[in-house]
Symmetry: C2
Subunit: 463 residues, 2 copies
């Protein structure tokens, strides 16, 4: 046995207590229920993927943030001594590690689709709720292990999928009582803007800069654009687009006029309009904002881009997604269009905690705890407990015949709402004293009476 | 972008398709429901633990089977060049890796209890359902990533906990319709036997050998015992114990007589009797077998030892557990007694697959799929779908206006029981043709009529 250790866990990771788990399950169950209601089916993929599946999919920075798993046995066998001597760890790592932990659910999903394509019915609507791992610098709201909840439709170019996903987002956050705004953009609109101002290679610079208008003002944005190498003419041409305001309908109209000269831009506006009109026709509780500066994962998305912001808490995006046209191409299956969204369960958890939005019945569980006065009483208690569990009532016995005060304090600390007592008198009467821990009331009942009361719902002592 | 890759996953890991997930969720949901019914609360711990938490807890072989995570950045910084040059990978690995993937749920739980002890109410009844990872050689029924479902009570020496866990095991397998035998032993009985025959240091050799009686016969067992260094006298003294047979009650009686000279052995028999009598008094559907050769994890358990075998399939133990008296000692909290069990979800999955024991309603989900005949019909369909989802009916639309035949084939392939059709006629009538895909019947209904039928349960076309 090792020496005594002060226990801890790796930074950026978390333990979840029973109370925290009840809250997290409330989030996961809500998302899962809505996913199912919308026709998505669950899959799971392994935590470990071949490193070759993951590397090169998230950019150079992403490669560094992959957790890599040291090969078993003689891991130095395939290692290049020159790299060791030169301390070239970035190039050495893939020689020591064949496997890595998944970084998101999207690349494993693309791999899954290609690997199992002969067994899949397309369009394939899958959901997946699993943890992912990133060797990011841990900070508030950013963890090294966190859950993603993804829903994707793959193999259908129809914009109905986008409309369905916006409905689904609206439903999830409505059920969670979180007020949100859904931001919408389209990659083709961004391409159109870049084309229009004669800078098709500057899409990223343009979007990064105009994303800051609210923060730094238009003059500073223009200065930044010049610093990023945009010509004066391009910046001049961009101004009418930056000046677009009004309602979403008005914005769409102006954007449509301005992008008329660009074929791809016009297509983007048409797609946006179809998605927005389709969504509004069905009704949407969330605010839907057209936002031409929205560009998340630009190299990845090819059409619709979606991002969700919580309105009542300062926190980054809590859900995001979009359409991609070539996700599976890198694995040998080109030309498959997909669209998907990812709920950030850990940020949603932070929002619910900040606003204390949990319903009252989110707690850890046991409804009735029987006290324990010794062997004879315990036998009677366990027979009653068996019946109560058969009736579906989460029931427990305090396992040791400790002092009554200690047992009651235990039930209190765990917020168990009812304590059942079988002492000498109850044994003689063949009954149970049921105590309501919230009201402080109590009543002498048979086990069948107790079960009948719970079956009728709620509080047996108030019936 | 990388070159095109033929997609695969690491050996010993698995993808789970929607049908497989539905089956697995049936198992997990059953276990989770019973855990809650018995008063256990859920926790979760990170996939990654500090390697110092894991190393030395599973023996030398276990250390080798830990998946270790390469440190980020300059992982060679702390590495001893001499170890690299000598190729001493076993000693080098902990210098390159601070973290490892959890190997089971027990050690992380012990770490959790010590780390959070000031927030925990004891006795602490926790359950945990999470994957674990082992760099084992993959083979039939043995995976490198698999789920454990653990329930432990920590901080209570009462044998009521053992009786409760046996009841819980009985309930889980009864709900899963798996016929089982529960094997029971007690570490103190094994200690008593070793003491009795004058070989207290040979407990492991004795149990390993006598475990084989059924396979190789008593003569070969005796030969093996001699080979393992047991004296002729010890082997002679062991014979009456090996000869014990009869009902569990008769076995207990004989064991009690034979172990009378041993204090610890007598205590073990007393504990066994209390657990067996207590369980049988409450009723147990499973067969309960006293098995003095049962010794799983001997160095670890200190009292009751439990193992569950499926009766109708040839497969290893599908659940196991026992009592331990010093689990948390290595993390600085001595003297805490606990008892727990672990359900092997993946083996249970294999048993259910082998016997095809899934209930009919274990499938992947969507109840009604609307066909898609084009933009106008789709708008009407989506309005109906919104209403149906609000009524809790998992409903979907085929996103593309493909040929009818293709859409129907899709619904068929996914075993979607109802297809809803809105074409020109239905649009004009403000109704929906609902087709029962199993019976082949169909009927013209309003969306409200359809919802009302489903709300009444079952098959709207047979009402």
């Amino acid at each position: 046995m090792a020496n005594i250790q002060k226990p801890s866990i790796p930074k950026g990771t978390r333990d979840f207590s029973p109370v925290e788990m009840a809250r997290r399950n409330y989030i996961f169950d809500t998302i899962r229920t809505v996913f199912r209601l919308y026709g998505f089916s669950q899959i799971e993929t392994p935590a470990m993927e071949n490193l070759s599946t993951l590397m090169g999919k998230y950019g150079e920075e992403g490669d560094k943030l992959l957790f890599k798993i040291l090969n078993s046995g003689d891991f130095l066998r395939g290692a290049d001594r020159a790299l060791i001597d030169a301390g070239e760890t970035a190039r050495l790592a893939p020689q020591l590690c064949e496997k890595g932990l998944r970084y998101d659910l999207t690349v494993p999903f693309a791999r899954y689709v290609v690997q199992h394509r002969s067994d899949i019915q397309f369009p394939f609507k899958r959901y997946q709720i699993q943890p992912v791992w990133r060797a990011d610098r841990p900070q508030k709201g950013r963890y090294r292990e966190f859950y993603q909840c993804d829903a994707d439709v793959i193999g259908s170019p129809s914009l109905i999928n986008e409309i369905e996903l916006l409905q689904l987002i609206d439903e999830v956050f409505s059920r969670l009582h979180i007020n949100i705004a859904i931001k919408l953009n389209n990659r083709k609109v961004l391409a159109g803007i870049a084309e229009l101002i004669g800078a098709p290679d500057k899409i990223i610079d343009i979007t990064v800069a105009i994303d800051k208008i609210d923060k730094i003002g238009i003059d500073n944005v223009n200065a930044e654009l010049a610093g990023r190498g945009l010509s004066a003419e391009a910046i001049e041409a961009l101004q009418p687009i930056l000046a677009i305001d009004g309602t979403t309908e008005e914005r769409l109209e102006k954007l449509s006029e301005l992008l008329a000269p660009s074929e791809i831009g016009t297509l983007g506006v048409k797609e946006l309009r179809e998605v927005i009109d389709g969504s509004l026709a069905l009704g949407l509780r969330a605010r839907l904002d057209l936002d031409v500066s929205l560009a998340r994962g630009l190299n990845y998305y090819t059409g619709t881009i979606i991002e969700v912001k919580a309105l009542d808490v300062e926190i980054g995006s809590i859900t995001g997604g979009g359409r991609y046209d070539n996700l599976t191409g890198v694995f040998g299956l080109p030309g498959v269009s997909g669209v998907g969204i990812s709920f950030g369960a850990d940020r949603i958890y932070d929002v619910l905690n900040a606003l204390d939005l949990y319903p009252d019945d989110v707690k850890s569980g046991t409804t009735v705890m029987f006290t324990n006065f010794g062997a004879v009483e315990a036998v009677a208690a366990m027979k009653a407990i068996k019946k109560m569990r058969e009736a579906g009532i989460p029931t427990d016995i305090y396992p040791d015949s400790s002092k009554m005060k200690k047992q009651m304090a235990y039930a209190n600390a765990l917020s168990i709402p009812y304590v059942a007592i079988i002492g000498e008198d109850e044994l003689a009467a063949g009954k149970i004293t049921l105590k309501n821990m919230v009201e402080g009331t109590q009543q002498l009942l048979t086990v069948d009476e107790i079960i009948a009361c719970f079956a009728n719902g709620g509080n047996p002592l108030l019936k």
